[in-house]
Amino acid sequence: MTGGGVDYDVHFTVDSVADLFPYIPEAWQYRFSISDFQLVWDGGSLVDDAASSRASIRAGGTPVAAEERLLVPVQMARMSVWSDHAMAAVLCSAMNDHMATTASRYDGMRMCATVDILDPAEAVRELERVGGRYPIGAVLVPPRGTILLGDPYYHPVFEAAVDLGVPIIVHPSGAEGAYFGGPTLGVGPVRSSYLRGTVQYQVAESNLFDLVFSGTFERYRQLCIIFAHWGYRWVPPAFWRMESEWRAFRLEAPWLTRSPWEYLAGNVRLACAEALHTEQGVEPSPYERVWEGLDPLLLGTGVGLEG
């Protein structure tokens, strides 16, 4: 496992939009107060009984030393199903300001900036605003339902992240397969969190495939994408298949100068609580042995922190 004692997935949530009002213009405060819009996170967070301490966090009953933590505003991952880009921009700015205030209270705390992915140009402006001002450790990019991450739509945001020297975080929102406009699943619309949780890795899988085959990592060689909270055991068999198809259909993506495994090793990381188990000396599964030497795993506990 790589990452140097960093927890890349600390869920940062607020109870309601009202918590962000100190950072929201008055007219927009009124706009929110008369609407029924809510920031939702139903993806679950582990209970952190020592969230204010950097000494240890408890995940699955196991204390883990984390020298640094990355706050991920998971409620903003649902932006892909929002319809109002102006509202998204206001909430992104407010959430970033609020996270920065929270992060400043702790040692070793960085924030994953949230940007208006409904409007990439606005996303870049927000990233430029917060980039030099706050301790940015990553940028949250929720994939849109019909636009996979290999699409040029995201290029401005990727370019800005590379310029800033920070990775992109892709995190589930809970809207996968459940809301119009959200990322779709192979099973179609889902009727339960159980089913969604079982197959939601497909969103990471399809977006990861698209990133590789589109040549995005050739275009932005310094780009790093962290898939957080999607698990990791699906990756080795998926990449085995990807490698096989690449040999057969190289003709359709001649710009790939490396094998898919090399892009995985060089440009992709997977942050998940399961990484704890590999760290603690549990016998690796056959899947894990497949990628020995690549070491793409990062710690991402999913511990919750309310702002």
Binding site: G215, T216, E218, R247, A248, R250, L251, P254, W255, L256
Partner: protein, 138 residues
């Protein structure tokens, strides 16, 4: 084992931009002709032994920037009929470096209107083939 040249036919036997399968001492070899250049390689794909003589022969697209397709290597590429792996028939290397496996290739020469292929085979097999020479081009 000895290396010998074998005549496999008149030039007219080999259509331009096409493939012809020949047998040399029990070995299946594919002769490819691009305009007036000839290539010879084994009829067995190094991946899963598909018959390359049934594959697509021609050009390919070369590595370039994202979303760029560059036409290249006309008459130098055989695509496997089963899994579409591509091989450079002049070097035996995979196109695009998709594998370190190599396609065995053979030297080819055209002399006096005939096509000759140089292969290694057991002496008794070579004698049975009545090679035109032993170790040297005709």
């Amino acid at each position: 084992m000895s290396t010998t040249w074998h005549r496999v036919g008149d030039i007219s036997r080999f259509p331009k931009n096409g493939l012809v399968r020949v047998t040399l001492g029990g070995r299946n070899v594919v002769v490819a002709r691009h305009e007036d250049r000839f290539y010879a390689f084994t009829d067995t794909c190094p991946h899963q032994s598909a018959p390359l003589g049934c594959g697509d022969y021609g050009p390919t697209v070369l590595p370039g920037g994202p979303d760029e397709f560059q036409y290249g290597l006309p008459g130098r590429v055989i695509r496997c009929p089963w899994h579409k792996w591509e091989w450079d028939v002049s070097t035996g290397r995979s196109i695009g470096g998709t594998t370190k496996k190599r396609l065995p290739t053979y030297p080819v020469e055209v002399r006096s209107g005939s096509v000759y292929i140089k292969v290694r085979m057991a002496p008794e097999a070579a004698r049975a083939m009545n090679p035109v020479d032993s170790g040297e081009a005709p």
